[in-house]
């Protein structure tokens, strides 16, 4: 008997022997099938079926069009650049926060600034950029006196998306950098290594899975973002998600939109598989259960601290400027025309906009626990358990994240508008969309965290007679609790701030603040749009502070310190 066959049989046998595992796997697969595979299948049917016949004609027509091909390369270029720049910024930021011995106050400032883009609708920085960098922009014209500066194009889209998404990289990398035991670095120092050599050969390699995760998440996020390019890319730099959105909403061409997005799915999957193959070859265990003596972090030379902090503060300053501008727009009568202070816009959103606020809160509140739970369960199963279809499960769980949101939205609309399952017009369709679209952050946080935790800790528990359930609850769960809260936080944040998929799912019964903001923007009601944005930032921030406090109370000794992951 070959060992592979033996392992496979062993996997099946173990799965069936463990009813808890078996049930969980079945339930998760049912959910994945219903909310990811089924809508996708419906969408592909629209793309590749024509009167019951399989055809490539739709795809060929799109690929022949030189403009669509250009949009395809533009999307890849933008996503790769956002991935690189965002990961790099996130790493610098995380490194400063956890390995530069900064005081708590500085870290709080950095955390707060990095949180702002994450807790606001993605196009708020885009809007602020237009006012700052256009031909008569606050910065380009009034401050620097540059005339005719073009704000539309790759440069500003890249800038805005990098600022918006780098906090994801920061959140991914911070716990991983924090989880590297300083003793490991100490060993290298005591063997005579320079700081740079320790960084290059110890610290950096240990964060590789995190860097890969961060790059992948940013790449996918940029690939899926339609709102920022819609506002900033202009007509000279078309990208596919925006093209697909316009194709569907404007030309009523569902097929063309579906095909355009299908083209995007390919690079998203390729990048994902590459990263996975690369990441899975490395070892990252630094928490061994054998606690060394407490030591101080010496990763950074004292002279390097000030420039590093300065760079991070500059970035924080840019972000803060954008949000101050946003707040200003919400509190004056009409930005650029009448700068008298007023609370009128807030009055408007709390009367006419109250329904949107209530609906959004209910949806985000329902999605939060579901997303957190789903994220750690799936992450745990994928990282630690052996069962048939494990890799397939992980790949399937990533699909809705990698797919452009416009397409997920349209797929849901097609799939759930007719029997057997009619969900159009309900809150459930929006909640499900958010949970299955934004939980991959929680899943990846769980997987990345578990990769740092030596399985021998769990093996020891099972060796002492505990079942898989008890081991998960008593040993694994406390260790991955931070990932649970990270996942839950991201789902809540996205429920409050995302728009690309759910713009198709809002209904007469359930509407969302983000959709109102975009509508207000196009209706020339900048004041209410800004007021809504400020409200979103405030609500999300309050919830995060609450979660963070909760996390601090539940923290168990030995758990990786990720309390600050949500910026508390």
């Amino acid at each position: 008997m070959t060992s592979i066959a033996a392992a496979r049989i062993d996997g099946w046998r173990r799965t069936f022997r463990d009813p808890a595992l078996f049930t969980t796997v079945i339930v998760l697969w049912a959910l994945l099938a219903l909310f990811i595979l089924f809508p996708l299948a419906k969408l592909l049917a629209r793309t590749f079926l024509d009167g019951g016949q399989v055809t490539l004609a739709n795809l060929a027509a799109i690929l022949r069009d030189v403009n669509h091909r250009q949009a395809f390369w533009n999307s890849l270029l933008l996503a790769a650049l956002v991935g690189l720049c965002g990961t790099w910024l996130g790493f610098v930021y995380a490194f400063a926060a956890v390995r530069a011995n900064l005081s708590r106050a500085w870290i709080t400032v950095l955390d707060a600034a990095s949180l702002l883009p994450l807790i606001s609708p993605p196009f708020t920085t885009a809007i602020a950029m237009i006012y700052s960098f256009g031909p008569r922009g606050l910065i380009t014209y009034h401050l620097l006196g540059i005339k005719g500066f073009t704000v539309y194009g790759l440069h500003s889209t890249l800038f805005s998306e990098t600022l918006t998404y780098f906090p994801i990289a920061y959140l991914t990398l911070k716990p991983i950098l924090a989880g590297i035991d300083p003793n490991v670095e100490d060993m290298a120092f005591s063997l005579g290594s320079s700081r740079w050599r320790v960084f290059r050969t110890v610290t950096l390699p240990l964060t590789v899975p995190g860097l890969a995760n961060a790059f992948l998440l940013l790449f996918a996020a940029s690939l899926a973002d339609f709102a920022t390019p819609l506002i900033l890319a202009g007509n000279s730099f078309p990208v596919l998600p925006t093209q697909a959105y316009l194709q569907i909403t404007g030309l009523f061409d569902l097929k063309g939109g579906a095909v355009l997005s299908f083209v995007l799915l390919v690079p998203a999957l390729v990048v994902y598989l590459l990263q996975r193959y690369w990441v899975s070859r490395k070892h990252y265990v630094t928490i061994t259960g054998k606690v060394g003596a407490q030591t101080t972090i010496k990763s950074l030379a004292p002279w390097a601290r000030a420039p590093l902090l300065g760079a991070c503060l500059l970035l924080a300053g840019v972000i803060l400027y954008f949000y101050v501008l946003l707040f200003y727009a919400s509190a004056v009568v009409a930005l650029g025309a009448n700068h008298a202070w007023t609370w009128r816009h807030y009055q408007v959103i709390f009367t006419e906009g109250l329904k949107a606020i209530r609906d959004t809160l209910v949806i985000a509140g329902a999605g939060m626990p579901l997303g957190g739970l789903y994220g750690i369960l799936l992450g745990y199963l994928v990282a630690r358990k052996i069962f048939p279809g494990r890799q397939a499960m992980e790949i399937v769980s990533m699909i809705n994240y990698a797919l452009p949101g416009t397409i997920v939205g349209i797929a849901y609309l097609i799939a759930f508008n007719d029997p057997p399952i009619v969900l159009t017009g309900t809150a459930l369709i929006i909640v499900a969309c958010y949970v299955f679209r934004y939980s991959p952050t929680g899943i990846r946080a769980t997987v990345a965290l578990l990769q740092q935790i030596d399985p021998s800790i769990e093996e020891a528990s099972q060796g002492l007679g505990a079942g898989s359930g008890t081991t998960f609850r008593r040993i694994t769960l406390p260790l991955i609790l931070p990932a649970f809260f990270a996942g839950l936080g991201v789902v809540f944040i996205r429920s409050m701030t995302a728009i690309s998929a759910t713009i198709f799912l809002v209904s007469i019964n359930w509407t969302l603040i983000t959709v109102r903001i975009l509508e207000n923007m196009t209706e020339l009601s900048l004041g209410p749009a800004a007021a809504f944005s400020v409200l979103v930032v405030v609500i999300v921030f309050a919830v995060i502070v609450a979660i963070s406090g909760l996390l601090r109370r539940f923290r168990t000794p030995g758990a990786v310190d990720m309390t600050s992951i949500l910026g508390g």
Partner: protein, 344 residues
């Protein structure tokens, strides 16, 4: 092992709670509520619906979408309509919907007094307002470049406007479609000449915006110098205090009717009809002035408000032939995308 299960069941409590929360919020369709997708901006639709409730006791539950989105939505929901009425929006949107079979023909009492261009012959839609296009420019920009407000289509070709004009994208916006047909009419429907003009204008266009009013704020702020918009958006920009001026091309410019339609399979057809009756009558259209909504009333009995009439005085405005526009819309928009938006 059972411990894992019990742990699961404990965690499933929030899950069940979450789901119940989702389902508990079933459609809130009270007996006296009519549902509508409004293409009119919320700040204009809301006062109208509030007045309607005051007059009839019927509440209007609505969401606002731009015309392309609203139409796409109604088409997708054809088998399971979520609303009763499609409220507002340039009539080309409704014309495109007729082919999809999404409307239920209905002729309100005002039907017979409306001019022919303000009603569909079978009652698939009726007009509730008229909305001409205008040129809107930033006064400071004009001064800086020693320009007069553009008074002909040719004025916009001036190199001073290079990269400084914003107008709507024909893929999403009804405003853009009306604009393109205006240019066609101006050139006597000579497509070659019309497209030649639009191609020449292209280098001056900074951005084609998703929605018709998308460029008004940039022009107001001076981020763009000028643009082509519906008068209702342009006058609203001016009223907000932005330093802009409105002008018309001497060759003439198009106007589009704003329509309302009842949806096939509507769950509250009687209430929907009442809303249409009211919207197509002087009862609603005489309120435009009160709420400073600068639409031109469609009903012949309602007078155009004085300041609006002043702006329109002397302007050469022609209606877009909706039969011609409906028949050629798709082809013309595709040609615009291929030759103007993305020149090869």
């Amino acid at each position: 092992m059972p411990r894992f299960g019990s742990w699961l069941s404990r965690l499933s409590v929030p899950m069940v709670l979450g789901c119940t929360l989702g389902w508990a919020a079933a459609p809130a369709g009270a007996a006296d509520t009519v549902n509508a997708y409004s293409i009119w901006p919320e700040n204009w639709a809301r006062p109208m619906f509030q007045e309607f409730e005051k007059a009839t006791g019927i509440k209007v539950n609505f969401v606002r979408f731009s015309s392309g989105e609203a139409l796409a939505r109604v088409i997708h929901e054809k088998n399971n309509p979520q609303v009763d009425v499609l409220f507002g929006g340039p009539v080309e949107t409704h014309a495109a919907g007729i082919k999809e079979g999404i409307f239920e023909p209905y002729k309100p009492p005002s039907f017979n007094v409306l001019p022919a261009r303000f009603r569909h012959s079978e009652g698939q839609w009726v007009a509730i307002a008229d909305d001409p296009l205008v040129f809107m420019s930033n006064i400071k920009f004009l001064k800086e470049h020693n320009l007069k407000p553009p008074a002909s289509w040719g004025d916009l070709l001036d190199p001073a406007y290079k990269n400084m004009i914003q107008m709507a994208d024909a893929r999403t916006s009804g405003t853009a479609v009306t604009r393109i047909f205006s240019v066609l009419e101006t050139y006597g429907r000579d497509e070659e000449k019309a497209f030649d003009y639009m191609k020449k204008l292209r280098p001056n266009v900074q951005l084609y915006t998703k929605s018709g009013g998308g460029g008004t704020l940039p022009v107001g702020l001076g981020q763009a110098g000028a643009g082509i918009f519906f008068i209702v958006d342009a006058l609203d920009t001016k009223a907000k205090g932005y330093d802009v001026t409105i002008s018309f091309p001497k060759e003439g410019i198009g106007t589009s009717a704003e329509a309302i339609a009842l949806l096939k399979g509507a769950k509250n057809p009687e209430l929907g009809k009442k809303l249409i009756d009211w919207a197509a009558s002087p009862a609603m259209q005489s309120l435009y002035a009160k709420y400073k909504i600068n639409f031109v009333p469609a009903h012949p009995d309602v007078k155009v408000e004085a300041s609006l009439a002043e702006v329109l005085k002397g302007a050469k405005i022609f209606p877009i032939d909706d039969a011609f526009a409906g028949a050629n819309r798709k082809r013309i928009v595709e040609r615009w995308i291929n030759e103007v938006l993305n020149p090869k």
